[in-house]
């Protein structure tokens, strides 16, 4: 599974680094973009990321209720929902996945990526 990652430098990025270090060989990050907060990512930028050679876009950031910038993760969540609706409407298999957790705990990230892989495996190959 090829992943384009966008992560906040407070929680998401350290979690991704830990996750990669914990030896998950079937996961390939094509890019990891570090941003100050997920709240800065617009819908058009999510779609641009999905235009690249990746299966999913992963947005990794702070927990929803304790975002370093208060509302950043919630903004990202709302925008990702909108982008996923557009992708669904366009009948593409690519999707945006969200992982909101603290930098120390990678269990949430693992759960999201496992879910993404399960869903992708069920998709008919085009």
């Amino acid at each position: 599974m090829k992943i384009y990652g966008i992560a906040c430098d407070k929680s998401g990025y350290p979690a991704i680094v830990q996750y990669i270090a914990s030896d998950h060989q079937d996961i390939c990050f094509t890019s990891i973009v570090k941003v100050p907060c997920l709240g800065v990512i617009k819908e058009s930028e999510m779609l641009e990321a999905l235009e690249t050679d990746c299966d999913i876009l992963l947005l990794a950031g702070c927990p929803l209720d304790s975002c370093h910038n208060l509302q950043g993760s919630r903004f990202a969540q709302r925008r990702a929902i909108k982008v996923n609706r557009l992708l669904e409407e366009a009948e593409t298999t690519k999707r945006v996945y969200l992982s909101f957790g603290t930098s120390e705990k990678i269990a949430e990230l693992k759960r999201v990526l496992d879910l993404a892989r399960t869903i992708l495996d069920k998709q008919p190959t085009t």
Binding site: E43, S44, L47, L50, E51, L86, L87, E89
Partner: protein
């Protein structure tokens, strides 16, 4: 402003068919404000089309309904097989008139002239009848906002200030009463309004306005 609603992606894909080089053209005025056809939406649609395998680009002009803004698009439009206009029907037709050899597709359905009443909700306010009389109704247009377009209302069917035809909308005549009461002009309600002169409306075909003072 003119309110538009983006067409379903599948309908857009069906329209453009196998035309692979596509320009998604946004409009920087009304449809930008109602968040359906501005720069942001043009970028999103172009991106989606690229994900679907099209060679799509995007651009946004200040207004698609004026020739001086669409004239400079010549090179961009000649370089593509089709244009998806995210403007209202006026913009689409202005483009089609100007670039009559090109396929110009509407990316939006133009819905009405209205305003945002709260974040994410727009309501119709004007029918463009060509003979405005809202001052007689406390500033609320009964032609547009009353489901029955009554000039001598109310109909008697409203309940708790809501319309009986569409219970999620305010009764226009309740609003008219409230406004006139605030203005101390409830006496206007005693006047019988004559039948509306619809000759200024669009039922005789499309309308045209000539301003002699503006002609060159």
């Amino acid at each position: 402003m003119i309110i538009g609603d983006r067409k379903p992606i599948q309908e857009i894909l069906l329209m453009i068919g196998n035309r692979k080089k596509v320009l998604v053209l946004g409009c920087g005025t009304c449809v930008t404000v109602c968040m359906t056809g501005g720069e942001k939406e043009a970028k999103e649609l172009a991106s989606l089309l690229r994900i679907k395998g099209y060679e799509a680009s995007d651009y946004t002009v200040e207004r698609q309904c004026e020739h001086e803004f669409i004239h400079p698009l010549c090179d961009r439009i000649q370089a593509v097989d089709a244009v998806i206009s995210l403007a209202c029907g006026v913009g689409v037709q202005a483009l089609s008139d100007f670039y009559s050899d090109k396929m110009i597709y509407p990316g939006l359905n133009t819905t009405f002239m209205g305003m945002p009443v709260e974040q994410g909700i727009w309501e119709e306010r004007c029918l463009g009848c060509g003979n405005c009389i809202v001052h007689l109704f406390g500033g609320t247009c009964p032609v547009t906002r009353c489901a029955k377009s009554l000039l001598n209302g109310p109909c008697g069917g409203s309940k708790d200030g809501k319309c009986e035809v569409k219970p999620d909308r305010d009764c226009a005549w309740q609003l008219i009463y409230d406004h006139l009461k605030k203005q101390g002009r409830l006496d206007l309600l005693l006047e019988i309004q004559p039948p509306k002169d619809w000759s200024t409306s669009r039922y005789g075909g499309h309308r045209k306005m000539i301003r002699e003072d503006m002609l060159l």
